[in-house]
Structure formats: structure tokens, C-alpha cells
Amino acid sequence: MSEKETQYFIEAYEEKRAALPGAGGWLARRREAAMDAFREAGLPHRRLEDWKYTDLRQTLEKAAFAPAPAHEGAVVLPGRRSASAFASIDRHVLIFVNGRYRADLSQVAHLPKGVELHALADVVHEQWAKDLVERRFDDARQAENIVDLNTALMSDGACLRVRKGVKLDKPLHLLFVAQDAGASHTRNLVLLESEAEATIIETHVGEVASFTDIVTDIAIGEGARLNHVKLQDEASDAVHLATMRARLAADAKLSSFALTLGCGVSRGQSFVLFSGEGAEANIDGAYALRNKQHADQFCVIDHAVPACTSHTLFKGALDGKSEGVFQGKVIVRPHAQKSDGRQMTHALLLSRDAAMNAKPELEIYADDVQCAHGSTVGELSKDSIFYLRSRGIPEDEARRLLVLAFLDEALDLTPHDLARDALKLLVSEWFGEVAL
């Protein structure tokens, strides 16, 4: 396949391969194989079931992203509130500009003993990094295949390893700034050994036409716990593609929450695999879109072993001509008895031209399970608006209150108190800009 939009990435690979982390080692061979696979498959398009509602091929063809340049010197944070949303939280900060780590801007001091934090290039020779990069889930190949593009071109990323029983003292904040137009490919690796604990906050901001391709590979050991909060508020002509792959050992817990406010086209993919009994995963999120924004949430949870619990809730408010997508799948493997899988998606259409597509899927091969999914789409209830107005609240304010209350149910699931408050504030400000 030698289509135009693929060509940009192939050329970027040819040009940079020697300078990419891991050159000459196993990773170079892995990159080569990934590039071959990508070249073969091309960019995903709507004829693939997993991409039924999001045409990445068309999107990237239109935008034609060249690689983003490495940015030196001072960085001006975008004026948006989201850039500093988490400023009041006591945290370690890693700053990435155009997808590259900038040590000079970051603030990481006194990491507890047993916490290792490196840039991608520094860990690629380590076995744990290799294991994470090479691992495939194969539950939704069409969706996972795009990770090949990242594997071939990943140039940097944050790699966190927390040793057995160690607790990361403060949240680790990864701030990604798109300063110049172009594509960046980032890979984060997270390994929590047994009984370890960590909180990661991730922010993506930018004012330029960027293509952010980010993959986060996670392994959570026995009884370990990871909280993950993500905020995406990039420019309206930016494209965001994020994939999270997490594997949970027995009694591990993952709580992830993603708020999507920005980007012209964004897609968040989550893959969760339970490999030990008693584990729990909460994959939740909210989105508020307007104009011609398009946001796709794709989520696959694989109950491969018995007695695990998963919970998914995505809520969105869609204004203007925006389009929301939810595609989810809960798989319960044979013998994975006592699985508990819940999957909910609710969307509010605030304008005549907004659209929502949902496909919550259950695939169940065991009988003693509790699985349920639900999906609703609709507009604000006229009765509720009337109720508030009858109590003297103006219509605009009534609508605002109702939408905020609607999104609050999801936002409440943010696994960090201060981060939750920050996200709620952002969402309420989002409504300040929208005439409901």
C-alpha cells in the first residue's frame, strides 16, 4: 500500500530510523516489523468494523502531517485554562514538547526509593520495557493494529517503574504541549510491581495543527493500584490518537478517567486484560464537544480469568455539529466465572446537528456472570427545565445546571480528589463559552 497519507509516515521512518531510540538493538528489528505491518495495513478507515464511526485515513489525508520538529528554547504554554488546570496539586511534572521530553522544563525532585522514572531511550535495553512494548492483546486487532505506527516511530516517552510495595508519594504529571504543527509519536511505559501504588495525571494541550499519537503500556502487579487521569484539550485542527493497554494481575486495581474537550478528531482506545483473579478496572470518561469536533471512545475489556470486576461509564454533551462515538466490548472468556462487567454510555444532544453513535458489545462465554450494558441518547428533559424555571431559574442557567449535573456523574469517578475538582471547574467553564 503506497497511499499518500501512509507515505508521510513511511518517509518519516526511513529518514529517522537511525536516530530513534533503540537503534541497532531488538527495538530496531521490532520497529522494522511494525513498519512493514503498517505499510501492509495502511491507516484504518470506516470499512473496518472497529473504525466504523471514525475514519482516521481520511482525517490524516486531509491534514497531511509532517513530523513535528524538535523544539528548543522557551515554550509558551497555551492560554487555555487546561494547561494549568492541575497547577495547584503538589506533583512531579514531566514536560514534553512536540512529543519530546524537556528535562530543563520539568520538575522532578526526590523520588522515593524504588521509583524509577526515565525517558524511553534510557530503558529500551531493559527486559521489562521490552515485555511491555512487545505485548499484544489481540482482542480487537483492527483497533490495536494502529499501535504499529507508534512502535515504528515512537521517539520518546515517560517510563515509570515502581518497585514492590513502594508508593509514589505525589502524582506524576505528564504535560504534553504541541508547540509546532506536525506529528509526534510518544510511548509511555508503566510497570507497577506488586503492592505498588501510583497516580498519573496526563494533560495534552496545544494551539497548533498537531497529530498526537500516544500509546501507554501498563502492567499492574498483584495488589498494586494505578490511578490515571487524563485531560485532552488540543486545538480544533489537531488530531489525537491515544491507546492504553493495561494488564492486571490478581487483586490489582486500575482506575482511569479521561476528559475530552479539545481536538477536531480524537480517538481514545483502552484495552484491559485481566490476568489474575480479583482484579478491578474502572475505565470512565466524559466529553464535551462543539462545532465540528469528533470524539471516539473505544474500550475493550477482557475478563480472561474468573472473579474480576470492570466498570465503564462514558458521558458526553454534544453541541454544534459535533459527533460522539462509543464503541465498547466486554469479553468474558470460558471459565471466567463470577465476572462482573458493567458498561454504560449516555449522551446528551444539545443541538439540532449533533450526532451520537454507540455500540456497546457483550461477548460472553461463561454462565455464572453478571454483565450488563446500557446506552441512552437524548436531549435535555423539558420537564426538568420547566421545573427549574418554575423556581425562578432562567432557562440558560437551568440548561447549564442540568448539563453539568449530567456530566458530574461521570466526573465524580475521577480517581484523584484535587484532579476531580480541577476537571469540574474546566467543564463548568466550557459552558461559559457555549450558548446553550
Binding site: P334, A347, N357, L362, I364
Partner: protein, 482 residues
């Protein structure tokens, strides 16, 4: 205890697939395989007008360029479309004047099937069109229907006697290019029922068709077309069986329903094709396209299906809700046992204003079967005030079966209110224990509980069918416990 006794009797009565017999009747077949000549042969056999032959050939040529759909959650060895007969008719082609002239062996077959074919034995008020392999054998109660102005006849007769209606409506809901199997059907369909209910008429009785595949290595491709003109009402039942065979037989039917202003069509199916033996050998491939078009305002189409048979079911009875205030309903029970595979569901396409739809799907899987609900609810931009409610519940019996739910929900209008719910569970030990401690055997208790689980759908069936369906539910699950 009457109900219990009945269940015991039913379960005892039928140990195996009781419709698995084969009737030895001499038949006339088209040469094996599928070529343009086969299409011409069928068309000539039916003495069809030129336009219909052209229509068939166009479909056939299109079919040759198409590939089989693979998106459904079913697996089966590739089908050799050249290794089957596309036309088979009991040899006895002279026009029949009365039932007495029908081959007694055929009548016997239908009797075994429990179809009230002869008028004396008929359940009050059911008009039957029976299709044996590819040919419609007899249509009963014709005169009474004609009095009301209702046309109910085999498709081939409709082509002869009412060409203007057939020409106007055939392929208008399921176009020849619709999908692989519908296109195949368009090329080789040989029989089916045609129903036309004139304006303002409430069809005086339930209409019913029985389909049976008898001949070996044959496919059955019937085409049903039901038109309900303004303000009319019709209830239509369809039942199917096939003999037990080692090989797989293909059944690719197309059903088109058209409801004009204020009309209502109720279409019920009890599908009990041979499901194959316990090891998954044999059985019918049921690849069916069914679609209703609520063309007029205030029209209503309701699908009710009880799917217990077939090795593989691939079937999505759908409603296009074009007319304002029209309503679509889909009630389904899909039971799979042994190694059966079911991929079934519905599509509700909301185009008109104030259109409503309701989907109730109950999937029950036992043995090593797989049961998938796949449905689409789509609301177009101009469809104001759409309301949809979807509920799909799955019940798993045993730990080697599987149940899947794949709903698609697409909304482009904010005034739409769509709700989808799905649950998956097994029969609770409490319920089972409760029944058993009152002296009800395990298998029977399961049948009782399952019947309760299906109640919402069973209630939608016409009375005589509901009784039969209830029994079928019990029988299909035989051997699934213990």
C-alpha cells in the same frame, strides 16, 4: 398442575427432532449447480413473463460479483453453491381443483407436521399456503378470502394473475442488490406467498405458510411479499421444518412487507428447521432477509419470531419507519442448543417524524451453542421525536455456551430518546431449588423458568402459535441440563 403435566408430556413425547422424517415423493429438479441456465430453467418452469426473467438475470449477474458476508459471529465451512439443486418440485404439475387431488403422501407429510391443511381439520380461521420444497402445494380458504378482496396465493400465481402488483412492489423493500443471500434469492426464488390486503380491509383470518425442505441437497429460496393497503390489517404466520440429514441445507428467503397509511402487519415466525445433531452435523443454514417498510403515516409492522431450529441462523427482520407516526416492533426468542449458532436481531431505521420502535429480544443458549443479538437503531436527521426502547436479555444454561450482544445506536436528531438495556445471566439456583423442592424435575423446572423468561415475547404470538411455541421452548432445551 395442568401446566406441569403438559410440560412433562411434551418433553416425554418428543425425544428427538420429530420433524426429521423424509417423504418419498418423486420430484422434478433443475440440474445441479447454478448458472444462467438454472435461472432460465426456473423462470421457464414457472412460465414467467419476460420482465421477471430479466429481473432474475440481473440479480444473478450481480450475485456473481458479490462475496459472502463474514461479519456475523458464525463459523461454517465454505458453501459450494454449485453443489446444490436450486429447484425441486413434487412431480405432479397439473392444476388442482380441490384438496382431494393433492398427492396423499404430501397430505400425510403435512399431517405429521401438524398442519391443519385439510379444511375439516383446520383450526378455525387459519388460511394456509403450504410450500413443499420449492413449490406451493395448496392454498386453503381461498374463497372466503377472495370475498373480502384479500389476495393470498403462491408467488407464481400472483405473477400470472396480478402482475401489476408484483411488478410494483417486488424488490421495493429488499432490492436485488441488497446483500449476498437476498441477491441469490432474487435470481433463483421459486415460491413463496403473496398477500394483498385492499384498502380498509381487516383480513378475516390469520394467514399462514408452512415451509418444508424435503428433497436432499436442495436449497429453498422462497420470496414472500405482503402488501397492506391503506387502513388494512393482516396477521401472518410462518412455520418451517426440514428432514434430518447429514448434509447442510441452505435456506435463503426474502420477505418484504409494505404497510401503507394506517395499515398494520403482524408477522410471526416459528422457525424449527432441523438444527443438526448433537455433534453439529447437518442442519439447515437459515440465511434470511426480512424487511418491512412502514411506507404510510400511522402504519405499524410487528415482527415476532421464535427461533429454535437451524444449524446457523443469520436473520435480521427490520423495519424502515418512513411514514410519520409509524411504529415498528420486534419480539424475538432465539434458543440455541447443541452446536447451533444464532446471529439474529433487527434494524429499526427511523426516517419519519414521531416514529417509535420497541425491541424485545430474549436469547437462550445451552449446550455448546452460540447466540448473538445484533441490532441497529438509527435515527435520521429529519426524524423528530423518535422513541425507541430496546431490551435484550440473554440466558446461559451450562458453561460451554456463549451469548453476545452487539447493538448499534446511531442518532442524528436530538429530540430522539433511545434506550438500550441488556443483561446476561444464568438460571438462578434459588429459582431452580424452589421448583425442585416442590417436586418438579430439573429439566422441567428449567423449561418452566425459561418459559417465564420468554413470556414477554410469547404473549405477542397469535394464540395457536403461542401454545406450540411454548412447547418448542421446552423441547429445544432438552438435554441441556445435568
Amino acid at each position: 398442575m395442568a401446566a406441569v403435566k403438559e410440560t412433562v408430556e411434551t418433553v416425554g413425547e418428543i425425544e428427538k427432532y420429530k420433524y426429521g422424517f423424509f417423504t418419498d415423493i418423486e420430484s422434478e429438479k433443475a440440474p445441479i449447480g447454478l448458472t444462467e441456465d438454472t435461472v432460465r430453467f426456473i423462470s421457464a418452469k414457472k412460465d414467467e413473463p419476460e420482465w421477471l426473467l430479466k429481473w432474475r438475470l440481473a440479480a444473478f449477474r450481480r450475485w456473481q460479483t458479490m462475496t459472502e458476508p463474514t461479519w456475523a459471529k458464525v463459523t461454517y465451512p465454505p458453501i459450494d453453491f454449485q453443489d446444490a439443486y436450486y429447484y425441486s418440485a413434487p412431480k405432479q404439475t397439473a392444476k388442482l381443483d380441490s384438496l382431494d387431488q393433492v398427492d396423499p403422501k404430501l397430505l400425510e407429510t403435512y399431517e405429521k407436521l401438524g398442519i391443519p391443511l385439510t379444511e375439516q381439520k383446520m383450526l378455525a380461521g387459519v388460511a394456509v399456503d403450504a410450500v413443499f420444497d420449492s413449490v406451493s402445494v395448496v392454498t386453503t380458504f381461498k374463497e372466503k378470502l377472495a370475498e373480502a378482496g384479500v389476495i393470498f396465493c403462491p408467488m407464481s400465481e400472483a405473477v400470472r394473475n396480478h402482475p401489476e402488483l408484483v411488478k410494483k412492489y417486488l424488490g421495493s423493500v429488499v432490492p436485488t442488490s441488497d446483500n449476498f443471500y437476498a441477491t441469490l434469492n432474487s435470481a433463483v426464488f421459486s415460491e413463496g406467498s403473496f398477500v394483498y390486503i385492499p384498502e380498509g380491509v381487516r383480513c378475516p383470518m390469520e394467514l399462514s405458510t408452512y415451509f418444508r425442505i424435503n428433497e436432499k441437497q436442495t436449497g429453498q429460496f422462497e420470496r414472500t411479499l405482503i402488501i397492506a393497503d391503506k387502513g388494512s390489517y393482516v396477521s401472518y404466520l410462518e412455520g418451517c421444518t426440514a428432514p434430518q440429514r447429514d448434509e447442510n441445507q441452505l435456506h435463503a428467503a426474502v420477505v418484504e412487507l409494505i404497510a401503507h397509511d394506517d395499515a398494520e402487519i403482524k408477522y410471526s415466525t416459528v422457525q424449527n428447521w432441523f438444527p443438526g445433531d448433537e455433534e453439529g452435523k447437518g442442519g439447515v443454514y437459515n440465511f434470511v432477509t426480512k424487511r418491512g417498510d412502514c411506507r404510510g403515516a400511522n402504519s405499524k409492522i410487528s415482527w415476532t419470531q421464535v427461533e429454535t431450529g437451524s444449524a446457523i441462523t443469520w436473520k435480521y427482520p427490520s423495519c424502515i419507519l418512513r411514514g410519520d407516526n409509524s411504529r415498528g416492533e420486534f419480539y424475538s426468542i432465539a434458543i440455541s442448543n447443541g452446536r447451533q449458532q444464532v446471529d439474529s436481531g433487527t434494524k429499526m431505521i427511523h426516517l419519519g417524524r414521531n416514529t417509535t420502535s420497541r425491541i424485545i429480544s430474549k436469547g437462550i443458549s445451552a449446550g455448546r451453542s452460540s447466540n448473538t443479538y445484533r441490532g441497529l437503531v438509527s435515527v435520521h436527521r429529519k426524524a423528530e421525536n423518535v422513541r425507541n426502547f430496546t431490551q435484550c436479555d440473554s440466558l446461559l444454561i451450562g458453561d460451554r455456551c456463549s451469548a453476545h450482544t452487539v447493538p448499534y445506536i446511531e442518532t442524528k436528531n436530538p429530540t430522539a430518546i433511545l434506550e438500550h438495556e441488556a443483561t446476561t445471566s444464568k438460571i438462578s439456583d434459588d429459582q431452580l431449588f424452589y421448583c425442585m423442592q416442590r417436586g418438579i424435575g430439573e429439566e422441567e423446572a428449567v423449561a418452566l423458568i425459561v418459559n417465564g423468561f420468554c413470556r414477554d415475547v410469547l404473549q405477542q404470538l397469535p394464540m395457536e402459535f403461542a401454545v406450540e411455541a411454548q412447547k418448542l421452548v421446552g423441547i429445544s432445551l432438552e438435554g441441556s441440563v445435568g
